[in-house]
């Protein structure tokens, strides 16, 4: 039987796909292709040496572990923020809601300067922390802090709509069936939110790994200790080493891809379970 033609608000599939491909191609595909081609100049062995230098490895470790740590902290806190925004009504809620998006909107350099001024050993928060023996600015901790700042909205904004759509009845049903609050939370609410949480975690991490503008001011940039991988790309460009810079970029891309792939597999397993 012939299906009735569905009326789309947009003109035909062919045209939409064409524009999509052109747009994606110009913005994503072609630049990525250049990133793949440039390190070829080094040869496979040269590429390997270029990305396994101790300093490169140290910076990749900081960028990835920093991003994962920041996102791991953002996960429960971002969930809490989303929960408060969705489930409660209180004066100033709108304002709070708007504030969540600030890290999106603020130029990253401004955010970096503000965080550095705040957490530097002579800053408002940095001074009391320094008195306690905790150094934030110019240490890996500062790197993770800035990464947490740029990542927070990703967690909140992916969890929020799912949480809003989660019927209150589900929890009430759990309660009538004799579940404790903890059980309702652990067995009903959390599983429903898990895919969104995972997606938020992945996006926040991906954003934090590549973050340059806000991290660079607070990082301290000491090689082998507080130097992030994107800075190393800039360092190599500064030496007119285009191929070496692209090699680090490619390594970051490959690692990010593996990480996102792993998270998406986890998500699938979760859904099946």
């Amino acid at each position: 039987m012939k299906r009735p033609r569905r009326r789309d608000p947009l003109p035909g599939f062919g045209l939409s796909l064409g524009i999509t491909l052109l747009w994606l191609g110009g913005l994503v595909l072609v630049p990525l292709l250049a990133l793949l081609l440039r390190p070829l100049e080094l040869g496979p062995l040269g590429f390997w040496h270029s990305v396994t230098e101790p300093r490169v490895l140290a910076s990749l470790r900081l960028s990835f572990l920093g991003a994962l740590a920041a996102s791991a902290v953002n996960l429960p806190l971002g969930l809490l923020v989303a929960w408060v925004l969705v489930r409660y009504r209180f004066p100033g809620r709108r304002l709070l809601d708007g504030m969540v998006d600030l890290p999106f909107a603020l130029p990253t350099a401004v955010a970096g300067l503000a965080l550095t001024a705040l957490y530097a050993p002579n800053g408002w928060l940095g001074a009391p922390l320094a008195a306690l023996g905790v150094k934030v600015a110019y240490t890996p901790l500062g790197v993770a802090l800035a990464m947490g700042f740029v990542g927070l909205p990703f967690v909140v904004r992916t969890v929020e709509p799912v949480l809003r759509d989660l019927p209150l009845e589900a929890e009430e049903a759990a309660a009538t069936l004799g579940a404790t609050r903890w059980q309702a939370w652990w067995r009903v609410v959390l599983p429903a939110l898990a895919p969104a949480l995972l997606a938020g975690f992945a996006m926040a991490s991906a954003r934090a790994i590549g973050e340059y503008g806000s991290v660079i001011f607070i990082a301290g940039n000491t090689p082998m200790w507080s130097e992030i991988a994107p800075l190393l790309i800039v360092v190599r460009l500064e030496q007119f080493d285009y191929a070496g810079a692209a090699a680090v970029g490619l390594a970051m891309l490959a690692l990010s891809f593996l990480m996102l792939l792993g998270l998406s597999l986890m998500n699938r397993l979760w859904r099946r379970a």
């Binding site: 072609v30 630049p31 990133l35 050993p121 360092v235 030496q239």
Partner: protein, 340 residues
């Protein structure tokens, strides 16, 4: 360079977010673009209007000279990637050499103008907290216990390379022990650096506004600027007994001026830097003029200290110094190698 490799480079640049979005900017006649580095902002703003007047008086033509500023290496890269600069006025000869290597500037550029094509010079000095509480008078004092030092990363900052080389030269020439002593001096020195900013301005901010460090190693003109900007009640400038003569060079970008037909005005622009007016203006902005009369007129503004240059045999020019000290695997990288 072929067109395709140029566009590929441009594409790569944007892919890396390197800010090479400054694609070839179309410019009409009567405009001149000077691609310069960071701390020359104030100087060239004034020099550009001076030159426009001079050119108008001489030829009757109007000219608008524009200047673009940024980290020296990044600016050189923008020119390599297609920014239509008529002249470049950068922090180090190495950056202009990099442009020349890609065929945009003739290889003999440094011989075309007097004094190694550097119309003004600077040196490396110490900016310390008011009253110099840690009593830092010369290079060895930097290693006193409890002293913390701010200098940008020599990998990303032209100014930081001069800082590093000044320290190296002092250790080789003034302490007994030669290169080995210099190596351990610099290793010790960088252990005392709490934050390696990417550029000279960033380091100044860390020192002045974030309260980092007891001493900032800085360009002489940058130190004077911070001094003038943030008040003499907060800082003192200390001239070490020995430093390096930093020679920021200038060159006409041959490929671009020939295509745009701006060679005459571009060459006149650079020559104007050597005129008494240009030299006086450089001195006003704390660059050391080459012209003896202008230097004498500046009086005590530029204390005479013993200085070496990049062409000293211990360095052997920028190309060699860059390869020995700052390229990947060079002396600077070894400072941060684990287990050293």
């Amino acid at each position: 360079m072929t067109l395709s490799s140029l566009s590929r480079r441009a594409v790569l640049g944007s892919a890396l977010g390197g800010g090479v979005a400054l694609a070839a900017r179309a410019q009409g006649a009567g405009q001149l673009l000077n691609v310069s580095y960071d701390p020359t902002r104030e100087f060239y703003r004034e020099f550009n209007s001076l030159f426009a007047e001079q050119w108008k008086a001489k030829t009757g033509q109007g000219i608008r000279a524009n200047a673009s500023h940024g980290g020296s290496g990044r600016q050189a890269r923008a020119v390599i990637d297609g920014l239509q600069a008529d002249v470049v006025t950068l922090a180090l000869a190495y950056d202009i050499d990099a442009i020349a290597e890609r065929g945009l500037i003739n290889a003999d550029w440094q011989q075309r103008l007097p004094h190694n094509s550097s119309p003004y010079t600077s040196t490396i000095v110490f900016l310390v907290r008011k009253g110099n509480p840690k009593k830092l008078a010369d290079w060895p004092d930097l290693l006193k216990p409890g002293v913390s030092i701010v200098t940008p990363n020599p990998k990303t900052s032209g100014g930081a390379r001069w800082n590093y080389l000044a320290a190296w030269a002092w250790a080789v020439k003034k302490s007994s022990g030669g290169e080995q002593a210099a190596r351990s001096f610099l290793t010790e020195m960088f252990r005392k650096v709490p934050v390696l900013d990417t550029g000279a301005r960033g380091a100044t901010t860390s020192f002045v506004q974030r309260g980092q460090g007891d001493v900032l190693l800085a360009w002489e003109n940058e130190a004077h600027l911070a001094f003038a900007e943030f008040g003499a009640d907060q800082f003192d400038i200390v001239y070490p007994g020995f430093s390096i003569l930093a020679e920021p060079p200038v060159a006409v970008v041959d490929r671009n001026v020939d295509r745009r037909g701006t060679r005459a005005v571009a060459e006149a622009y650079l020559q104007a830097l050597y005129t008494p007016e240009g030299q006086a203006l450089a001195a006003k902005h704390f660059y050391r003029p080459r012209d003896e009369a202008a230097l004498a007129a500046a009086g005590s503004r530029f204390p005479r200290i013993e200085m070496t240059t990049i062409d000293d045999p211990i360095f052997g020019g920028w190309k060699k110094a860059q390869a020995t000290h700052f390229d990947d695997g060079g002396e600077f990288d070894r400072i941060y190698q684990p287990g050293r």
